[in-house]
């Protein structure tokens, strides 16, 4: 069923009895052309673009829980393409372009809101670094504006400009950045992929791989073996565990990242603002809660919950940026498991096992990449070659030294 004002009206007049489930609950077929392991945003987007762009519709997405139950349902929903390096910026800009047309393409309200992302700077050196990043963005055709303190004050007069240690000197603004509704992205891709014939298999855990010699020829699941010509992994957070079943050892550590939401408030902050002197970022959801976060906890974890030192650190960052936060009550906080790659950048590549493809290492920045990640992973699965915007995201770059060190850090800042 196509969603429209008319369908809304008709169902409103007939007691809302006309709605149907947005996707089927099929049983696994014995074999598919492609299996995507992981029913998060990236996996479902991959399945959708496989069917839509490449005509490969005999596809299954296998998810151990329910779709969107991992990091797709646990993030802070920010979308942006304000990267510096040539290996990253075209990819994230492609993602931004896909975000801009996503709702029309999927016929689903993903609440994409280009409310602007502002990165604050607090020193001359940081201004120079941001000017450089802004220039790099513009060289790639991406919008960016370098604001001085007065420019920032005009947007957010309540920030702590006179902070003794970290005075706000200005910021780098990407007006096209913003937020999207994370669950709706998952549901929109799932519904659109399902309509093109993709089987979404929920509560079906991959327990191993089928192989012939070196080649991967399918997966063992809790609902029986399923064969496939190609298997793609999009299981960020659990990549080491799942890839380990195929004998792969990867440059990835799993770490916990916490996020926070306050009680609902009246409109307070209409864009995304990041603190440059610590790791803190904040936006306000359409429901009114302030959504904010900071650093990863910093130790290996699969626990999906974090500890108090980072909560304190995040709240200190918030108070240094925006003192009025002190009277806001925290409603919830939660943790998700990040694939921390060793250079802080993702991997979309083949693996040493023929038939097995990898989409991993998103660190704490995977949500904004969802559309392009799906697009590029589908391209790789369909054509066996990297998409032009994802050529640098190779698995072997750690061995060859071609790191994408956007921040110069991976899981452990002292290591790389």
């Amino acid at each position: 069923m196509r969603y429209s004002v008319l369908s809304l009206l008709l169902n409103g007049l007939t007691g809302q009895r006309g709605w149907r489930p947005a996707w089927r609950e099929p049983n696994p077929k014995p074999a598919y052309d492609v299996i995507i392991v992981g029913g998060g945003g990236h996996g479902l987007a991959t399945a959708y673009y496989l069917a839509r762009q490449h005509g490969i519709r005999n596809v299954a997405v296998i998810e151990k829980g329910y779709i969107g139950s991992g990091n797709a349902g646990r993030n802070t929903t920010i979308i942006r393409s304000n990267y510096l390096l040539p290996g990253n910026e075209p990819f994230y800009e492609w993602s931004m372009k896909l975000w801009e047309g996503l709702e029309q393409e999927l016929n689903y309200n993903a609440m994409v809101s280009q409310r602007g992302v502002l990165n604050l700077y607090h020193s001359d050196a940081q201004r120079d670094a941001y000017a450089r990043r802004g220039n790099a963005m513009r060289l790639h055709g991406v919008d960016s504006e370098l604001l001085d303190a007065e420019g920032v004050r005009a947007m957010y007069p309540f920030l702590d400009f006179a902070n003794a240690r970290f005075p706000i000197r200005g910021g780098l603004l990407q007006r096209r950045g913003g937020t999207a509704r994370h669950d709706a992205v998952v549901w929109g891709y799932a519904r659109a992929a399902d309509a093109l014939g993709v089987d979404i298999l929920q509560n079906c855990e991959v327990t191993g791989f089928l192989s012939e010699g070196d080649a991967i020829t399918g997966v063992e699941t809790t609902r029986g073996p399923v064969r496939a010509k190609k298997v793609g992994l999009a299981v960020a957070g659990s990549t080491s565990r799942v890839a380990g079943k195929a004998g792969l050892r990867l440059p990835i550590e799993s770490h916990v990242l916490q996020a926070f939401v306050s009680e609902g408030l009246k409109p307070l902050i209409d864009g995304v603002v990041t603190f440059g002197a610590g790791h803190f970022y904040i936006s306000q959801s359409d429901k009114g809660g302030l959504v904010f976060g900071g650093d990863i906890d910093g130790y290996n974890s699969y626990a999906q919950r974090g500890n108090l030192p980072v909560i304190e650190d995040v709240c200190e960052g918030g108070m240094a940026l925006m003192p009025r936060l002190g009277r806001v009550r925290l409603l919830r906080h939660w943790g998700g498991i990040m694939d921390m790659s060793m250079d802080g950048s993702p991997i979309i590549d083949r693996t040493p096992r023929p038939g097995l493809y990898l989409n991993a290492g998103w660190c704490y920045g995977g949500f904004k990449a969802t559309p392009a990640s799906g697009w590029c992973f589908a391209h790789l699965l369909a054509r066996d070659e990297a998409h032009e915007t994802a050529r640098a995201m190779r698995l072997d770059r750690f061995r060859t030294g071609h790191l994408i060190d956007e921040k110069g850090v991976g899981a452990q800042p002292n290591l790389h």
Binding site: R249, N300, M342, F398, Q412, P413, N414
Partner: protein, 101 residues
């Protein structure tokens, strides 16, 4: 999370900084195949879900390195020993580690 420091007793994780997996051993740079061994040492990780041994530095305490046994699924810590008692010959150097977060 509290870490039972063998020297200071049970202390909050706040006082410690983290270095990570205690399994990798720095390879001998003069050995044949050292390049591949260093790639493995620097980049590849087992990243287990479950029992894990890791280095912590008690920066706001006794300033000693600890080897801590922790479960990565529950954060339950089952023990901690001084690194100098167990890590021969290639313990992490404080020079590189003190700046670790």
């Amino acid at each position: 999370m509290r870490i039972p420091c063998p020297f200071c007793g049970s202390r909050d994780a706040h006082e410690f900084s983290y270095l990570g997996d205690a399994t990798p051993r720095r390879p001998d740079p003069a050995a044949p195949g050292a390049e591949a061994a260093f790639f493995d040492y620097v980049y590849l990780r087992d990243n287990p879900a479950g029992a894990f041994e890791e280095w912590w530095y008690h920066a706001a305490g006794c300033r000693q390195w600890l080897k801590v046994a922790r479960d990565t699924r529950t954060h339950a810590i089952t023990g901690a020993v001084l690194a100098r008692d167990v890590a021969a010959p290639a313990a992490p150097t404080p020079a590189g580690g003190e700046t670790a977060r």
